[in-house]
């Protein structure tokens, strides 16, 4: 294999790693750091422009001074902290054990195959989280049950529409609408002492926490463009949620 194709192989690997990190919910700084670590193992220097949808990278071989520039699109974001953690570990192991490029490629392929938790477990855990929210905001155990059921149904719809490949904001709207309609029945039939709490907390499972936290992380580290993009995404998410809640409350005439 000649030098150029080797360089292209390295560039593709680094692009793969950084896009995997961005998709999994790492902030821009972390993606840059990981690229630098892997590049130093492979005796290269990487310069990259990371935006929300695309990564452009120029890779320079430190010995021959050859360089190549590649562009890669980032697929839709699916937050997965296991991948971030595994890539972080791989980068440290690669430095201390001086991995070859094929070793790194094999490890990244393994990381891509990592399984998520079973769907039912996630549904129950997030619904319990919804019930927990309800407790935090002074709901009693009947309200918490309503929050549990609403979150469960909302998240179920949210996941199901993902399988049908709906637009993200339509999915957010539907998830929040279904959850708040379910919780509104609690107010209609006056279940528990504080049925409003169940309604307020039933849609919190959609809260764009990672997007907003990463947005401020990026802004604080001067990745202003990515920070603004993430903030806007978070804002759009909140808007979609609010419209779902709005509509449910309008239908049930709650005010």
């Amino acid at each position: 294999m000649n030098d150029t194709s080797n360089l292209i192989k390295t560039a593709n690997l680094l692009l793969d790693i950084s896009s995997l990190l961005m998709v999994s919910g790492a902030n821009t700084n972390r993606a840059n750091l990981s690229i630098d670590r892997f590049a130093s193992v492979l005796n290269c220097k990487a310069y990259s422009l990371i935006s929300h949808k695309t990564i452009i990278m120029t890779l320079t071989d430190e010995e021959t001074n050859e360089s190549c520039t590649r562009v890669q699109n980032i697929p839709p974001y699916v937050i997965d902290f296991s991948i971030i953690s595994a890539i972080s570990k791989a980068s440290w192991n690669a430095i201390t054990e001086n991995w070859s490029i094929d070793q790194i490629i094999a490890e990244i392929e393994r990381i891509k195959q990592l399984k998520r938790y079973p769907r039912l477990l996630i549904l129950v855990a997030v619904s319990l989280a919804g019930a927990g929210f309800c407790n935090i905001f002074n709901g009693d155990y009947l309200n918490m049950m309503m929050a549990f059921i609403s979150t469960f149904l909302g998240l179920f719809v949210f996941q199901q529409t993902n399988k049908l490949k709906y637009n993200l904001y339509i999915r957010l709207f539907l998830g929040s609408f279904i959850a708040s309609v379910t919780a509104s029945f609690g107010i209609l039939y006056n279940i528990g002492t504080n049925p409003q709490t169940a309604l307020a907390t039933s849609i919190l499972f959609l809260v764009p926490g990672v997007a907003l936290i990463n947005s401020f992380h990026d802004l604080l580290e001067n990745n202003v463009l990515n920070g603004m993009v993430r903030f806007t995404t978070g804002l759009m998410t909140v808007l979609a949620m609010a419209i779902g809640l709005f509509l449910a409350m309008y239908l049930f005439q709650l005010n």
Binding site: G25, A26, N27, N29, R30, L33, I79, D80, F81, S82, I83, I84, S85, A86, S88, K89, W92, R116, Y117, L121, I122, A125, V126, S127, L128, A129, G130, A131, G132, F133, N135, I136, F137, T197, L199, A200, T201, I203, L204, F205, V207, G209, V210, L212, I213, S215, F216, H217, L220, V238, A242, L245, F246, M249, Y250, N255
Partner: protein, 162 residues
């Protein structure tokens, strides 16, 4: 007194559960599960303890998030995970969902329902109070979590000596 402590522990417990639920949604590694629950519990405990002593919700959220940010540094060393894995899920239960709800509710009443002028003034007050509380709590949470690493001026926890 015992009632208050029990109530505090109950609320903190559910904060931990909420943190854990979001952790599973974000697919945290298996060996971080207990840590995320404990951090969620701790953050909830600090926040509600402070709020019990009439500390403003913005400051309370900030200190709780700051606690999560600081604790996650030695923990990152100990169980070999990057700190984001357990610094983000415990903060999510403190997201000001209720204020967001109240804001939306007041906006809706203001726009579609209320005709009486003096009640509309109250609604404007509610929109601004709840809306800005929500905004500042959000900033407090994100800055609180990010601050420890920024203060130490290190871009990787591995470089921090403990």
């Amino acid at each position: 007194m015992l009632d208050i402590i029990l109530k505090l522990i109950e609320v903190s417990f559910w904060s931990g559960i909420a943190a854990l639920g979001f952790g599973l949604l974000f697919n945290i590694p298996k060996n971080a599960i207990i840590t995320v629950f404990a951090l969620g519990f701790g953050a909830g405990f600090i926040k509600f303890l402070l709020m019990h002593f009439n500390v403003h919700v913005v400051l309370g959220s900030f200190l709780a998030a700051f606690f999560v940010g600081i604790i996650s540094i030695p923990l990152a060393h100990k169980i070999h995970q990057p700190p984001v894995v357990f610094s983000i899920p415990p903060v999510i239960p403190m997201i000001p969902g209720y204020f967001a709800y109240e804001t939306v509710l007041s906006i809706m009443n203001f726009l579609f329902m209320e005709g009486d002028a003096s009640k509309r003034v109250h609604l404007i007050d509610a929109i601004f109070t709840n809306g800005f509380t929500m905004f500042f709590v959000l900033i407090a949470l994100t800055v609180g979590v990010a601050l420890p690493l920024l203060l130490l001026k290190k871009n990787s926890v591995k470089k921090i000596d403990i």
